[in-house]
């Protein structure tokens, strides 16, 4: 991979960091490699919003190579939401543009004394004032930076600048500036690094955005071998049935099925059914407001939705998490409402899962009587009240009244009102909208994800309905099977960790053998599938060690209590997750100590990271 640009915003020093080749081979790239790079930096005492905290934007080894859905990048650091390892990957075009500029990452430290943005054009780096940009929303920001640079270039050349775009902006909204702990980074047509609050970390450094233009070539070890593999992989992906679903219906293409299985949460995970829930799906959007699609760099799927609402304007349509988070989760069943609330979150720059999850909790606590109108400033938080949900977003982002506590996320909200067990979160991160009572593998996934209650470290809800590749040794277990699937979940996590290292989109149903061939051709490796999984397992364990350093204990490997109760109706009615048995089997499969949750020494030795654990006193 290419060098990482390392910028100290306090001293304005700019240098490059060369990734050791052994790290590249052991960790491949993306969040796995980021974990290794940041290992020394991350400590329990480190305030994630301090100048000392790092923010690392990193590509994968295939980013920008026009391979199957590999135009993504990841943002990593220490999470202000959880205090643990933070990673969030993102599509769009920013990552490939950065590669073309000659860098595979940007490592920010320090803090600028005034708001700035970074302008990286090929190997030229500028730290520019951004006081005039402070306060802009994430879409206004992209336009403003593009306009500023275009005007300047026209002045310099005396020629009108006809370039259509060519500048990719990754930035924060007002939420990141205000250091809301679930603030995001957004680029292009609403593509986000949403989870774990890394937008707040960027805001804490007084950095509003990074703008990039690259005109160079993306490095590939063996272009002659890579090109035909890439073409064949894209063709195969294009004809895959899952691609067909994602392309025609977006990421909410399976929402109807998830609803049928009882896997799509209703009323903040407290109900199994909801009248008109079938209005919340990719199919429903396709039948009503859909007017177009968008794609990330070189993607043949194009899962992005473009919708037109009553005002006539085309805008980003909701993906699955937004549709459910601002839909059945709040007792709502209107895709237009979900579109509008999702856009509001994008413009402010907050993660829709955390925001809608926090509001969902507020609605639930209101129903249970923990919260009343005296707490909400008069807001009626009854299920289905879309206006109240919108008010909650505004209040949270402005930290006004009831919004002060909403701005801290679900865990803090539940603790504040004396109901800590009601928050559907793990280690401070609000769960995504896949109820483990409908797909039991998600119980382990949520409990053990290195970034808290996350569905992207293993989308096992798909494995639970059959998406398992036998070439990896994965088996298909019933969606309500228990401990017998624990080892399978661990292997699936390892595999998806490889995905996240390559920063490959999880929506792409690419055979592992194909991914392997692409990596070997692009990097000059001769890895086997076994090596691949070992890279994933190594990174999974390294992130575990990081979290242990950051204070995680065995007690953190848990599920919220409401999910261990049964639902009364719907496709998961009556099912009880055998959580303790599943976790016991998981620790055995992982070769982790069941009491401490620490990886055993022989496992760490086998993975070549025992020395790191020992130096950290773990």
């Amino acid at each position: 991979m290419q060098p990482i640009l390392k910028i100290n915003l306090s001293s304005r020093e700019i240098e490059t960091f060369t990734i050791p080749p052994a790290w590249e081979r052991d960790y491949l790239g993306g969040s796995s490699l980021a974990a290794r790079i940041l290992w020394d930096t991350l400590a329990l005492s480190l305030d994630p919003l301090s100048a000392a905290a790092p923010l690392l934007i990193l590509n994968g080894p295939l980013s920008g190579t026009a391979g199957p859905t590999v135009g993504r990048f990841v943002v990593c650091g220490k999470s202000p939401a959880t205090g643990l390892w933070a990673e969030s990957n993102c599509g769009g075009f920013f990552g490939p543009e950065l590669r073309q500029a000659g860098y595979d990452g940007i490592w920010l430290t320090g803090k600028a004394d005034k708001p700035v943005y970074l302008w990286i054009h090929d190997r030229n780096i500028e730290i520019r004032p951004a006081e005039s940009l402070w306060g802009l929303d994430t879409y206004q920001l992209q336009d403003a930076i593009n306009d500023e640079i275009k005007r300047q270039e026209e002045q310099e050349t005396g020629q009108p600048e006809n370039r259509k775009t060519g500048i990719r902006v990754l930035g924060i909204g007002p939420a990141g500036e205000a250091q809301i702990p679930y603030a995001l980074l957004l680029c292009d047509h609403g593509r986000v690094a949403g989870r774990t609050g890394l937008g707040a970390v960027m805001g804490s450094k007084n950095v509003k955005a990074v703008a990039v233009r690259g005109t160079g070539k993306v490095p590939v070890f063996d272009p002659a071998a890579y090109a035909p593999l890439r073409s064949a992989a894209n063709l195969a992906l294009k004809s895959d049935p899952m691609t067909s679903v994602m392309s025609s219906l977006g990421s909410a293409g399976a929402a109807d099925y998830f609803n049928y299985l009882g896997e799509q949460p209703k009323k903040y995970f407290s109900a199994g059914t909801l009248e008109d829930a079938d209005k919340i799906s990719g199919a429903s959007i396709a039948e009503t407001i859909l007017v177009g699609k968008t794609a990330c760099h070189s993607c043949v799927i194009a899962c992005g939705r473009v919708v037109r609402l009553d005002d006539g304007a085309k805008r980003k349509g909701p993906e699955y998490e937004t549709l459910v988070g601002f839909g059945p989760n709040l007792g709502l069943t209107d895709p237009v409402t979900a579109t509008r609330l999702g856009e509001l979150c994008d413009r402010y720059g907050v993660d829709v899962i955390s925001m809608s999850g926090t509001i969902g909790l507020a609605f639930r606590l209101y129903e249970l009587g923990f919260i009343g109108t005296k707490d909400t400033g008069g807001l009626d938080l009854s299920w289905g009240n879309a206006a109240a949900a919108e008010s909650c977003i505004h209040l949270a982002l402005k930290r006004e009244g009831f919004g002060q506590i909403l701005s801290k996320g679900a865990k803090a909200l539940a603790e504040h009102f004396g109901a800590p067990g009601e928050a559907i979160q793990v280690n401070g991160l609000e769960l995504a909208y896949h109820d483990p009572r409908g797909a039991s593998g998600m119980a382990i996934v949520y409990a053990t994800s290195p970034r808290g209650g996350c569905h992207n470290q293993s989308d096992y809800f798909l494995a639970d309905i059959g998406q398992v590749d036998a070439s990896l040794g994965l088996e298909f277990f019933d969606r309500h099977a228990g401990a017998e699937k624990a080892a399978n979940v661990a292997k699936h996590q390892d595999f998806r960790t490889v995905n996240n290292a390559l920063v490959l989109c999880v929506f792409a149903n690419v055979p592992p053998e194909t991914m392997l061939e692409l990596v070997n051709a692009a990097c000059g490796y001769d890895l086997t599938l076994e090596d691949f999984l070992r890279c994933g397992e190594r990174a999974w364990n390294l992130k575990r060690l990081i979290n242990l350093k950051l204070g995680l204990t065995r007690a953190g490997d848990t599920l919220p209590a409401p999910l261990l109760r049964t639902l009364e109706d719907g496709g998961a009615a009556g099912y009880v997750i055998p959580f303790d048995k599943m976790m016991a089997a998981y620790y055995t499969a992982r070769n982790w100590d069941a009491n401490s949750g620490k990886p055993n020494s022989n496992k760490l030795s086998e993975l070549g990271i025992l020395g790191l654990a020992q130096e950290a006193g773990l």
Binding site: S239, D240, P241, M242, S244, V245, S248, L249, G253, A254, D256, Y257, Y260, D278, S281, G282, A283, A286, E287, L462, I465, G466, Q467, V468, D469, A470, F476, N509, P511
Partner: protein, 135 residues
């Protein structure tokens, strides 16, 4: 009746099952769309077999083994090798798993298909229940 998959007897038995199964009739009451099963030669099946089913509101309005694949333009096409079709019918392979692992190719309006997964699953149940043998 002996219903060996794939064959005319099997198809006739399947049509009869779809038209008499109460549960299927209920679940598929909104289904509108005819279908091809394209079974590629594999294992003991030596040549491609194409079956046509006209499915409408919980009933099968007609079925045939098709000699000329251009004779219909069905709303949906399910295509797989014989071995995987047989595994689905014997209950060894889940139909969603077959689709998600690229063993079964599905063409048609995916919005309709995803809206009606319960219908598809019950359709497969009916097929399994009448399958006594494979080749």
């Amino acid at each position: 009746m002996s219903a060996i998959f794939p064959g005319a007897d099997w198809l006739q038995a399947f049509e009869q099952k779809l038209n008499t199964d109460e549960r299927y009739g209920q679940i598929a009451s909104k289904w509108e769309g005819d279908m091809y099963f394209i079974i590629e030669p594999e294992g003991n099946l030596k040549s491609q077999t194409v079956m046509y089913l006209d499915l409408w509101h919980g009933k099968c309005r007609g079925s045939e083994i098709v000699a000329d694949i251009t004779s219909h333009n069905p709303a949906f096409t399910l295509k797989a090798g014989y071995v995987n079709f047989a595994r689905v019918l014997k209950g060894e392979l889940d139909p969603m798993q077959a689709m998600l692992t690229r063993k079964l190719d599905v063409k048609g309006n995916m919005a309709v298909m995803m809206r009606n997964v319960p219908t598809v699953l019950d359709f497969v149940r009916c097929a399994r229940e009448i399958t006594t043998e494979t080749l």
